[in-house]
Amino acid sequence: MTSAIRDPAGLPYLPAHLEVVREAAPQAELRLRVAATDFDLAARALKDAGARFVTVFLADTPEPALVGAFALQGELIVLRAPSSDGGAHAATAIGDWWPAARWPAQELLERQHPTVGDHPTRHRLTAPDADLLDHRVAGLDVFTIPYGPVRSGIFEAIQFQIETGGEDVPHIQTRPFFKHRGREQRFVGLTPDDGVYVAERVAGIATVAYATAYSQAVERALDTPPPARAERWRAVYGELERMACHLDVIAKEAETTALYVGQARFQILKEQVQRLRARLTGSRFARGAIVPGGVRRDGAIALDELLAAVDHFERDLRRDRRLFLGTASMTDRLIGAGRLDRTLVEEYSAIGPLARGSGLSTDTRHERPYGDYERLGVRVITRPEGDAMARVNVRFGELAESLRLLRQAIDQLRRHDGQLANPLPASGSGAAFGWAEAPQGELVIWVEIRDGLIHRVHIASPSLRNWALFDHAFPRDVLTDFAFIEHSFGLTPAGADR
């Protein structure tokens, strides 16, 4: 632990000799300005204090600066180091000693210096080459299988280089960024209202989470909180999205064990959620439902009908869950597969069902409650085992919790009427973080607005942050466990690559 106890900003976890200036910030955000040379030191102190790494990037408001975001004690701690040269090298320094920061720092460096190629295989993280194989393998009779970016089945593009001797998997290298479409740049110059269309299409399966996090960033930057009714609808859409994503993971696990009846049953449940969302919002992914400042309109079906649909769904889910968990051919493949140690998960600052399956009680809805979750109160579901079964069990638990939250939110919607959206100021300026718990984990979005137009956006997606752990998920597993472990992660390359 750092020896310091007091410092000018009144923060016990930072060394006393560090010069820190506390800046004005929206609620639950703590902005600290440090010198560029002290950035590394401050980040180390935060890590020692148990902070979770969130992201590191270059901000441009109020001046060009290297920004690091860390989650600690219900706050988002934002280290800001103004620097004229962008300071990407200070960020790479963090990546050297904090595994969680490795990919974000590497991405930052490569984007700033397009010629940097300091990876041992000359492989660039952000410009992957499917043909470039890593030929240094771990032993005799070990070979590399390049799996992806074109994959068997209907999966998103990502590449895994699997080193194997046939059975055990001594090493895996994950290569994201095949899908990099420049979504963050696409925001630039749009009005905050139009920006939500881009946010919804960063990671399509988490449309609501992205729209919510983006809208909250805009609302916090422009100091225009949404009305309570809008927050309730956002919670309804958000929980339905979580249910669809979790059911998708469970159906895919059933498919992998060739439990086709189980697969069909959970696909049916997922399709029911998608259809309910289509009836509610006109889109199977609830696109166009959330706007910065609130929601576009009330859900299109009566609240009693919605509640009846929730009840009906719960009856079906309960039976299928009992059958799923009682099918030994299913659970035997999941128990013990892809075990992730809690210390490893902490070191990589992992989040979402992945972290909760390794005993870490982390959930943005609980840590930094936003919108309706301040009133709803989320029960965080955790399992200590750290294997694929634990991650599936966490998802089953969260399905039940989502149904509970849905009922509460619908009940509140029934009792209280109110406005659906507050208009944004026409030519406001500001910069803030927004966050939401996506089905994949904590999603954080930074938005800068200048004179009514978006100036810069940075997205810290849960998928990129969790995927770094995949290389470590095969301690005692064999090649045939690959699909189980991948599905139990439940991540989306679209979000990781942006």
Binding site: A130, P149, F178, K179, R181, R201, V261, Q267, A278, A494
Partner: protein, 259 residues
């Protein structure tokens, strides 16, 4: 296991009868944008669209390119007298120009028609489908996967998923084709044996959609390869993709089912 089966049996049929019977979209479904009044339009209507799908020609006629439309609804909200959502599923078309609404009086020439008919005879009733993701947002994959779930069950129409491009007859492409995916896409298409058909799934694949044009490439699939069927939508619902697959296989000729 018996209980699983019993659970499946006591439910009635949930599988759609499409394409033999029409599948209705729910009220309010955002299927596509219709132009209610194309004449005498102000040129600033084009500015309503974040992807440039709306155009106003010198004769002040209004056009919407559904291949560029991401169904955000900005136009419907700003000018409800001009634009409206159509609550329909079947949005696929054989040519890029056929996606522009309203269509001009004379029908667009469809040069691919004959080849597709020939392909259909060769492929009918056992059509193997391969998918490649070239930078989608992930939702298109969900909707394609849904085709094999009990609600849509596309296997009843003779469509099968295959893991190898060398066994595939139809290639489904999603995403605007990012730089890193250009070569994998070209290779996949090359190794597929003829006759073969290429289906662009989603607005991103049809035109690039929201993607940044320029250095990231990403101008849609037909900037690189000839596309047989376009399925616009962001994302297109399963029935729309099924419609596209049936068109690609030539099973839906002049919108009548030829099974």
């Amino acid at each position: 296991m018996l209980e699983w089966i019993a659970r499946g049996l006591h439910k009635r049929r949930i599988t759609t009868r499409y394409p033999h019977r029409e599948e209705r979209a729910p009220a309010g479904f955002r299927g596509s944008i219709a132009v209610l009044d194309p004449e005498d339009a102000a040129s600033d209507l084009a500015r309503l669209c974040p992807t440039g799908a709306i155009t106003v020609d010198p004769q002040r006629r209004l056009r919407v390119d559904q291949g560029r439309c991401i169904l955000c609804g900005a136009c419907v909200q700003a000018a409800p007298e001009r634009f409206a959502f159509e609550h329909r599923y079947e949005t696929a078309a054989r040519t890029r120009s056929a996606l522009t609404v309203p269509q001009d009086a004379e029908p667009a020439v469809e040069p691919l028609r004959a080849t597709l008919g020939e392909q259909a005879r060769a492929l009918r009733r056992s059509i193997h489908v391969r998918h490649i993701d070239c930078g989608s947002d992930g939702s298109e994959e969900w909707e394609i996967q849904a085709l094999w779930n009990p609600y849509y069950d596309i296997q009843r129409l003779g469509f099968f998923l295959t893991a190898a491009p060398r066994h595939a007859d139809v290639l489904l492409v999603t995403g605007p084709v990012t730089t890193a995916m250009r070569q994998p896409l070209e290779r996949t298409w090359q190794v597929m044996p003829a006759p073969k058909a290429l289906v662009a799934v989603g607005t991103d694949a049809c035109s690039g959609g929201l993607s940044v044009p320029g250095e990231l490439g990403a101008g849609g699939v037909d900037a690189l390869l000839a596309v047989d069927v376009y399925v616009p939508g962001s994302p297109p619902p399963p029935i729309a993709i099924m419609h596209g697959l049936l068109l690609a296989a030539g099973l839906l000729v002049n919108d009548a089912v030829a099974l």
